[in-house]
Symmetry: D2
Subunit: 340 residues, 4 copies
C-alpha cells in the first residue's frame, strides 16, 4: 500500500484524489492546499485524509511515501524538489517545471536519490494514444510522415501561462511518446488578442531528425471546439478525434506512391482502401497512470512518462517561447534523447 | 459583344469556354491548344470557334478582343505579355505568373497600353466569400483577429508546382480580398514525402501590419478532404466550410472580452450567443467573374481581381518559397498595397 | 422551505436528491430504498437525511411535506396514492403510472385532496424544448405539420418495460407540451429480437385532430445513438438534435408553397433561406422542474406537467401497446384534453 | 452490338443515353420524345440517333433490338407492352407500372415471347448495395433483424405520383434485393401539406414472414436531406449513408445478446467492437445495369432486376396506397416470391 500525499486541490487535484482513493494499492493520507474552501471540499470527499494548509508539512509527514504535485506551474519545482530531498517519490502535473533548468535539476535529484520522478502526461495513458502507439509498433502506419494537430476552442484564458504552455504541452507529450524521431528545431508564432492576457493562439512547427514534420494549431479563441490529430504514414494514415465518442481513432488505408523511376517519367498513384475504427478500452487514463506510478515505486522501474520525458517537453515549450519572441524564427534543439 | 479567345483547353479551360458561350455579352471565337485531342474535344463542344494549335495565331487574330490564358503557370507570362502587346485585354489563370518580376511586368504593360489585366481568383467571386466580405464591411465581425485555413485532401500531385503554388494560392487570393491589412512577413515550412515530387504539405503563417494573423495548412497527402477557414473577429467569428452544401458560412456570436482594468485584476469573460448560417446565392462564381471582365472591358473600370492583386499574390507565393528553403525563416514583405 | 422525501435511490433518484439538496427552497429530509447498498450510497452523499428501508415509513413521516417517487413504473401508483392520501404533494417519475386507470385515480385523488400532483416529464423543462415552445408561440413555425423523432441507441434493455414505455414516453411528453392539437389515433409496430426480453424497437404514428402528423422511431438495438426531432411547419422548420452540444436547436427558413391556383395548373416553389441556431440557457432542466414543484406547492398553481398531462401520456402508451398487439392497427383515442 | 431505342428524354433519359453511347456493346439508334426541345437537346448530344416524336415509330423500327422506357409512370405499360409485342427486349424505369395488373401483364407477355423484361432499379447496381449484399451472403450480418430507412429532403414535388411512388420505391427495390424474407403485410400513413399536391410525407412498415421488420420514412418537406439506412443483424449492423462520400457503408461489430437462461434470470449484455468502412468500387451503377441488360439479351439469362421483381415492388406500392387510404390499416400481401 503506497501512502500518497496530494499537494493542490484546485481544478485537477480532485481527480487525482478520487483515483488514489479508488485504487486498492494506494491510500490518500494527506492533502495540502493553502485555500480554506479547497480544504473543506477535500475534507467532505476524503474525510480520512489529513488536511494541511502548508505543503511543507505534507512533505515532512512520515505518513507519506509519495507526493503528487497538482499546483500552478511556477510552484512545481520548489515542491517537487523539496519532496525528492525528503526522500519521497514524486508525480508532477504537466508541464513538469517552468524552465528547462528546473526540470533538469529535478531529473538529477531523482536519479541521485533513486526516487521515482514521474510526470502527469495523461494523454499518454489514454486508450486512444495507446492504440495508435500499438499500430505504429506493429508497422501498420509505416514510416510516420507527419503529426498535425488542431486543439482549439473558446477556452478558459489562463492567467499564468499562455496557450502554448496550456494546450501545446499535450501534443508535445503525445509526440514524445508516439514519434521515434528526435526534434531538431521548432518554429512558433503566436498572438494575443485579449489585452492584458497572455498569447491566446499559436502555430508551432517541429522538425525532426528523420524528416518527420509536426505541426500544432492551438487557440483559446475559436468559435468551435476541435481536438483533431492527423498522423500520416507511408502505409496508412490515422485520424484521432477526441471529440468523437465512438470513433476516436480511425485508420485509413490511403496514400500516394510513385510508380516508375522517381525523378524521371514518373506517375503518382493513389491508394484508397478500407477505413477502420478499432474498438478502444474504456479504462480511465488517470487510473492506468496511477497504477504505473505504483508499479515503478514498487519495482524501481522507470515510468513510461519519467522525468526525462518531462524535461524534453519543457525544453520544447521553452524553445517555442523563444521562437515566438523572434516571430517564428526556427530554434535549434539540442538532441536530448541520445543524451539520456 | 466581346469576342474571346481561349488559350489552353486542359483542366480548367473547358469551364471558361462553357461560361463564355453561355453569356450573352461574350462570344467564343477561338480556342488554342497544342494538343490534338484537346482541340477535338473543344471542337465538339464549340463548333463555331476557330481551333488553333499555336497560341500565337490566336493572339494575332482580328476576331479576338480579349484573351483568357488557362495554361500551365510557367507559360502565363509569355502568352499574356504577347496578348497585351497585341492590344488584347487579358484574363490569366491563377497564379498570374511564375515570378514577381513577370507579374510586375504584366501590370506595367497593361497600364501602359490601357488594357484590362485581370487574374482568375475564382474564390473571390463565390457567394460564400462575397457574403463574408459583406459581413466584414457591415462591421458584423469587428476587427479581424485571425484567418486560419485548412485546405487538405488526398490530392492530385502536380508535377510543375508544389502544394503552396497549387493550394495556398487560393487562400492568398481570398485573404487579399477579405483582409484590409497588409502582409508584412511570411513564414513557411514544407515537406516532400513522395520521392521525386514537389513539396506535398506546407504550413504558412502570414503576419500583417495591424497584427492580424493568418495561417494556412495545405496538404496533398491527407486521408480526408477538409476545406475549412476560421475567421476570428472582435465582435463575431465565422466558419467557412466549403465541403458543406447547406451551411457553408456560419457566423458565431462568440468571443472573449476583458472585464475590469486590463493588466491588473482583470477577468476574461465569454460570450456565447446565436449561430447563424445566412442563405447564399447559387450563382456560379465563374459567371460572376466573366461578367466582371466584360464590365471592365466595356467601361475601363479596374477589375476586382486586377493585375496588381495578381502580383501581390505572386509576391506572397515567392516569399513563401524562400522561407521554405530557409526552413521557416520569416521573410519580410515590401508593402505593395500602398505602392498602388 | 419545502421538506422533501425521496422514494427510490437507484438510477434517477440521486439526481433528484442532488437538486433538492442544492435548492434553497427545499430540504431533503428523508430517503427510502429497500436496497441496503442504495441507502449506504445515499447516506454518504446526504448525511442529514433520514434513511428508511420502507417507503411507508417515509410517507407517514411528519417531516415530509412532499414526496418524490423515483421507483419502477409498476410501483408508482401504490406509493403516489398512499402519499396523496397522507396529504403529501407528489412528484412522480415518468410514466406516471402503469395503466390509464391508475393514472386517472391519481389525478382524482389529488384533486379531491387539493394536493399538487406533478409528473417528471424532464424534457419539457429543458432549454431546448422551452425555446421551441417559445418559437411556436411567437408564430415563427406557423402551423405545425409534423413532429418526427428518432430516439435510438445501443441501449440498456429494460426488464420491466419495453422500448415504448422507456423511450417513446419522452416524445409523448414533449408532444403534449409542444403540439396544440389533440391526438385522435395511434398506430404502433414493434419487434423483440432479443429472446426473453420485451420489444426493443418500435415505430409509432400519432394522428391529430388538426391533421398534424407525429412519428416516433425508438430502438434499443441501433449501432449508433441518435436523438433527432424534426418539426415541420408552414413558415419554418426546426431540427432538435440532443446529441449536439452547441447547436441543439436549429431553425430553417425553408418550405414549399403552391403558386397559382391549387389543384389546377399550379407550381410548387421552394424557399431556402437562413438557418439559425439560437443560444440556449445552460440551466439544468431538473432544477427548473423542481422550482416549478415548489412554486405550485407554495401558490396552489397547476404545474406545467400536472397529473392530467401524466394521464394523457399514459393513455398514449397504453393505446400504443394495444396497437402493437394488433400489428399496427390504428387505435382511436378519446380526446382527453377537452375533458380537463 | 445491341441497338437501343430510348423512349423519353426528360430527367432520367439523358443518363440512359449517355451510358448506352459510352458502352462498346450498345448503340443508341433512336430516341423518341413528344417534346420538340427535348428532341433538340437529344440531337445535339447524340447526332447519330434517329429522332422521333412518336414512340410508336421507334417501336416499329427495324434498327431497334431493345427499348428503354424512361417516361412518366402511367405510360410505362402501353409503351412496354407494345415493345414486347413488337419482339423487342425492354428495360423500364421504376416503378415498372402503375398497377399490379399492368405489371403482371408485362411479366406474362415477356415470358410468352421469351424477351428480356428488366426494371431499372438502379440502387441494386450501386457498389454500396452490392457490398451490403455480399456482407449478408458471407454471413457477416447474421440474421437480418430490421431495415430502417430515412429518405427525406426538401424535394421536387411530383405532380403525377406521391412521395411513396417517388421515394419509397427505391427502398422496396433495395429490400427486395437484400432481404431473403417475403413481405407479408404493410402499413402506411401519409399526409399532404401542400394543397393540391399529392402526399408529401409517409411512414411505412413492412412485416416479413421471418419476423424481419422494415420501416421507411419518406418526406419531400424536410429541412435537411437525409439518405440513411440502418440494417440490424444478429452478428453485426450496417449503416448505409448515401450522403457520405467516403464512408457510405459502415459495419458495426455491435449487438446485444442474452446471457443465461432466456426468460428466467437473464442478463442482456452488449458487444461494442470495431467499426469498419469497406472501400467501394467507383463504377457507375447505371453502367453496371446496362451491362446486365446486354448480358441477358445475349445469353437469355434472367436479369438481376427482372420483371417479377418489378411486379413485387409495384405490389408493395399498391398495397401501401391502400393502407394510406385506411389510415395505416395493415394490408396483407400475397406471397409472390414463391410463385416465381
Amino acid at each position: 500500500m503506497i501512502r500518497i500525499g496530494l499537494v493542490g486541490y484546485g481544478y485537477w487535484g480532485p481527480n487525482i484524489a478520487r483515483v488514489v482513493a479508488e485504487l486498492e494499492t494506494t491510500e490518500l493520507t494527506a492533502i495540502a492546499d493553502y485555500s480554506t474552501p479547497a480544504r473543506q471540499r477535500a475534507g467532505r470527499r476524503h474525510p480520512s485524509a489529513h488536511l494541511l494548509s502548508d505543503w511543507r508539512d505534507l512533505i515532512k509527514s512520515a505518513d507519506v511515501d509519495a507526493v503528487v504535485v497538482a499546483t500552478p506551474v511556477d510552484t512545481h519545482f520548489d515542491i517537487a524538489m523539496a519532496a525528492l530531498k525528503a526522500g519521497k517519490h514524486v508525480l508532477v502535473e504537466k508541464p513538469m517545471a517552468d524552465t528547462s533548468a528546473h526540470a533538469a535539476a529535478l531529473v538529477d535529484e531523482a536519479a541521485r536519490r533513486n526516487r521515482v520522478l514521474m510526470v502527469d502526461h495523461t494523454f499518454v495513458y489514454t486508450p486512444a494514444i495507446q492504440k495508435i502507439r500499438a499500430l505504429i509498433d506493429a508497422g501498420e502506419i509505416g514510416d510516420v510522415y507527419y503529426y498535425d494537430s488542431t486543439r482549439i476552442n473558446l477556452g478558459l484564458f489562463q492567467r499564468d501561462v499562455n496557450v502554448i504552455w496550456d494546450l501545446a504541452v499535450h501534443d508535445f507529450a503525445i509526440m514524445d511518446h508516439l514519434l521515434d524521431a528526435d526534434p531538431v528545431a521548432i518554429s512558433a508564432s503566436a498572438a494575443a488578442f485579449v489585452p492584458g492576457s497572455p498569447e491566446n493562439m499559436a502555430y508551432l512547427t517541429v522538425y525532426h531528425d528523420d524528416g518527420t514534420m509536426a505541426h500544432l494549431n492551438v487557440n483559446w479563441l475559436s468559435p468551435v471546439k476541435i481536438r483533431q490529430t492527423l498522423i500520416g504514414g507511408s502505409r496508412r494514415m490515422v485520424i484521432y478525434d477526441d471529440m468523437q465518442t465512438s470513433e476516436k481513432v480511425k485508420v485509413y488505408d490511403r496514400g500516394a506512391m510513385v510508380e516508375g523511376d522517381p525523378g524521371y517519367e514518373h506517375r503518382v498513384s493513389y491508394r484508397s482502401g478500407d477505413i477502420w475504427a478499432p474498438a478502444l478500452s474504456t479504462k480511465e487514463a488517470l487510473l492506468t497512470e496511477m497504477q504505473e506510478f505504483v508499479r515503478c515505486i514498487e519495482t524501481g522501474a522507470r515510468p513510461l512518462t519519467d522525468g526525462l520525458r518531462g524535461l524534453r517537453v519543457v525544453n520544447l515549450l521553452a524553445a517555442a517561447s523563444r521562437s515566438v519572441r523572434l516571430r517564428g524564427q526556427p530554434i535549434e534543439l539540442v538532441p536530448l534523447r541520445e543524451a539520456s
